[in-house]
Symmetry: C2
Subunit: 242 residues, 2 copies
């Protein structure tokens, strides 16, 4: 087994939930192979949650600003590398705007890419289009558009009002612990989009969205895709790889 790392704090609740998903992905890995499940069967893993400057704001202003997240992401990844981890997952979609920079700095690490992993998963399932729910920062960076296009999948997104309501659900809802508000915002954005586009896979492309959308009544019956779960499975696979 290889030691792996999780770079979080974006936000902290989503980072904590990502560890839960990773442990669950490891359990699934063991069970699928008929291996015994006990404490000692899990790989060494590290989570660091740093007070990280806002990603969307930095992308809107200057992604390389010394006040932005770039330096914090690099020091977090550097300390994970020093601990001997081999693969790292970024527990934040928007932070993937700095993925290439982190990967280039630390060639000894494999930095997994949440949108590429998600696109590969959807491609394997035969999807031709997918609805992306994300932060403004993630939309601006074209993170999912590029990864989905590489797999021949068209990316659909809400209009401007819907995007503003998503940001409200993320920032005033989940990040401030107001889950009813988050459910309401996310559900209201989803309903008309599903009505318009039909039953397309819904990518919950911000780690805060899966903490509230699945409980919204408008999400009932929708094909919700959690990129954090897909990323957690990819990290578990790396941890168990020889």
């Amino acid at each position: 087994m290889r030691a792996v790392g999780i770079l979080g704090g974006m936000g902290p609740a989503a980072g904590a939930d990502f560890v839960r998903l990773f442990v669950q992905a490891c359990t699934r890995h063991l069970q699928d192979r008929g291996l015994p499940v006990h404490d000692q069967a899990y790989p060494e893993h590290w989570l660091v949650q740093l007070p990280m400057p806002d990603r969307t704001q930095a992308l809107r202003r200057d992604p390389q600003s010394p006040e932005g997240p770039a330096a914090h992401l690099l020091q977090g990844a550097g300390r994970l590398a020093a601990l001997g981890v081999r693969s790292v997952a970024l527990a934040c979609n928007t932070a993937h705007a700095w993925h290439g920079q982190i990967q280039a700095f630390f060639p000894q690490l494999r930095v997994l890419h949440i949108a590429q992993q998600t696109a590969l998963y959807l491609k394997a399932g035969g999807a031709r289009q997918a609805l992306v729910l994300a932060t403004d920062g993630t939309y601006d960076s074209g993170l999912y558009d590029a990864a989905l296009a590489d797999c021949g999948i068209a990316a659909l997104r809400p209009g401007q009002a819907g995007r503003a309501r998503l940001m409200q659900g993320i920032y005033e809802g989940v990040k401030q612990g107001d889950m009813p508000l988050a459910m309401q915002c996310f559900g209201e954005v989803l309903a008309p989009l599903l009505q318009h586009h039909g039953a397309v896979p819904v990518i919950m492309g911000c780690t805060e969205i899966p903490l509230a959308l699945p409980q919204a009544p408008q999400a009932c019956g929708a094909e919700l895709v959690d990129p954090a779960w897909i990323l957690a499975c990819a990290l578990a696979q790396d941890a168990y790889a020889h």
Copy 2:
């Protein structure tokens, strides 16, 4: 804010849940003080989950065996210390049998003690007796008996058959992902004890127990005390202390 650490892997699901509790305790800390809640308001925190030899087995045989958890606990704590954390929580009750050893090795760390924190909490609430549900290892080590006695609280425990059923719920239930079995085991132990002792606080003295007991019908209306939550609050307090 001070960086803090969590030493987990005992088991990994409980360690992941402890991070969730810590983040929730930080949110509560901020809200109680009317401070704004956003990603940057959370302290730096680290979780390490190591493949850790079984604690109860080691206590039954030789607590200082090189195959036991002592060396692993010390290397985990040592790496957390090297990362600059100031306070550490052990996300496992039974592992507190090695608390004194870890604390003595790393005087630069404050290693919180789950049973002492729980006893202080119950004392503040005026409790005179409490029911302890735990592993054989924790019972053998007298962890809660000593901490509760220091606070003038009598420790009640299940008989031998009940203790064996708790171990089954922990090892065959939670640690193997079989939550219905865990709920059944924990609930069956609790019901006759509450009938016999009346409405006493119930200390869920193994980090696996709160993952299943609260959902058991027999626990409905019981005063369940989660030492992991109390420990998470103490760690949050250290992180925000000046």
